[in-house]
Symmetry: C2
Subunit: 157 residues, 2 copies
């Protein structure tokens, strides 16, 4: 596993996301890393992130899959450009489409593992499949289509 | 628009969801209603629910679409059974699959409107299409497959 999280390489002005921004103190602050050709992240939901007592609510699952997907897309874009992730100009992706299949109830009180695999990589479009596991059981499968951030959302422009 | 929110009819033990449970003090407490043959909900994201400054993060959008979808599924199930929503045994749905297409950046600082339309209604499976609008612009389209809650998640069993 690589040592620096993808999200910790984003410039400050792109680090406010509730799901993964290091500058969002109230948010989830998801951290994603390389793990061979895959990407990996771990997150432990808070007690209030429940659907019913004992199980994680679906919105949290969708949220961390989403942020792991866009982070993974940025990481492969930098990798293919032969650039370190903390170099400018930033290569930042947003979600065009997110699909989550909920395979099994996701238990609370345990760390969740997300593993991302790239299924399509173009310069401005990256598709990632993500397994979300708890206790080595796949509880949800995510599919994300990420596209280069439009200028209209970029606080640098 | 009907007067009582779907989620306010759920029994106490099924009202802990972070997205829509009235007993989850930290959560979003989404409230969904009938609006003719459609369902409707309104939600104003908090300032911290950002992707980048000025725009709502995708996980929040997925979360409220998800909870509006499962709430809508419960509502049509009660309606088709000829029962009021606050009667027992509860008819409660969970998400089998959620898809969100992000059509335009969702601005912060304005109320979001969710409108649900039923595309398939069976006794144990309900499909709902949901438009999420800000300032009358469709910013995201959601598609949810909701299924009757499995006994393994039901705190009543």
């Amino acid at each position: 596993m690589s040592e620096q999280a993808f999200q910790d390489c984003y410039p400050d002005e792109l680090s406010h996301c509730y799901g993964c921004g290091r500058n969002n103190k109230e948010g989830h602050q998801l951290k994603s890393f390389w793990n061979g050709d895959e990407t990996i992240a771990h997150y432990t939901p808070k007690p209030e992130h429940m659907a019913v007592p004992g199980f994680v609510y679906g919105g949290l699952i969708a949220s961390i899959i989403d942020c792991h997907g866009t982070g993974s897309a940025a990481a492969i874009a930098y990798k293919n450009a032969g650039r370190a992730m903390d170099t400018s100009p930033p290569l930042r992706f947003v979600t065009a489409s997110l699909k989550v299949d909920y395979k099994a109830p996701t238990p609370q009180g345990t760390v969740l593992e997300l593993r991302g695999r790239f299924t399509e990589v173009k310069e401005r479009k990256v598709c990632v499949e993500i397994d979300l596991c708890a206790n080595n059981v796949v509880c949800a499968k995510g599919y994300i289509v990420a596209v280069m951030m439009p200028d209209s959302m970029d606080p640098n422009t």
